[in-house]
Amino acid sequence: MIGLLVALVVIPGTVGDLLNSAGMKRHGEITDWSLLNLVHVARSLLKNVYIMIGIPAMAVSFFALMALLSVTALSFAVPITSSSYILETALAKYVLKEDVDWRRWAGACLVALGVALLSI
């Protein structure tokens, strides 16, 4: 049960982040921050398949985390799910073809370890 919940936190969360990132890159950089343009952006995102799958995936991850927290301690749930920082950095490099140099790898590892320590 706990293993399933951990998987439901990490996998949909990772997939959601990748899809949201890919979807926003496909949309293009937001340069006009007027309210009217942001409404246009929101409307165009409703037609963006990546975002429309990414948001429910992140919602699954969020509710799975709430369920995980109801059956385990925070000191277990957060460290075990903080590994997703490293997993997502790897997928960003190989799936999204991002330029991940040693500073980004080191940063992701330090943050994952730091987040784990913060929750103990």
Binding site: E29, E98, V111, G114, V115, L118
Partner: protein, 143 residues
């Protein structure tokens, strides 16, 4: 001339990234504070039914938390429209550090030696990543 334009565009993009990253971090911290304070007053939710969770949304602090969480999500999407995921994730993790600080100051939570080590590592990791250029496609290098 083209190099100058590219360099100016790069600088503007870095400034924009810093500002939107701060919005992402700030909204996340306020959302966490609102949810933590609100859920302490709501009490433990031990139901499989969604109704107690939905009812909790109407508590003022929880509602503030939810509104700022929506703000966090939208500002994060905007940041991802140009910045790499491998940049956004570690840099915005600074919200953990600020949330811990807010917990100590306003919610009277205790910070032990391991927490301080965690705060140091997250800050160091975020600074390392913040030193990289936010997007893979550097202006002037695109085809």
């Amino acid at each position: 001339m083209r190099v100058e334009v590219s360099s100016r565009k790069s600088r503007l993009l870095v400034y924009k990234t810093i500002i939107v990253s701060l919005v992402v971090i700030g909204t996340n911290v306020i959302a966490n504070y609102g949810l933590a304070r609100g859920m302490r007053q709501v009490g433990v939710l031990e139901s499989l039914s969604p109704i107690p969770y939905l009812r909790a949304f109407f508590h003022p602090w929880v509602a503030i938390g939810v509104v700022f969480m929506i703000g966090w999500f939208l500002s994060r999407l905007a940041l991802l429209s140009w910045a790499d995921l491998s940049y956004v994730l570690p840099v915005t993790a600074l919200s953990y550090v600020l949330s811990a600080s807010v917990g100590v100051i306003y919610l009277r939570e205790r910070v032990n030696a391991l927490h301080w080590a965690g705060i140091f590592l997250v800050t160091l990791g975020a600074i390392l990543v913040a030193m990289t250029y936010p997007e893979t496609n550097v202006p002037g290098e695109q085809s």
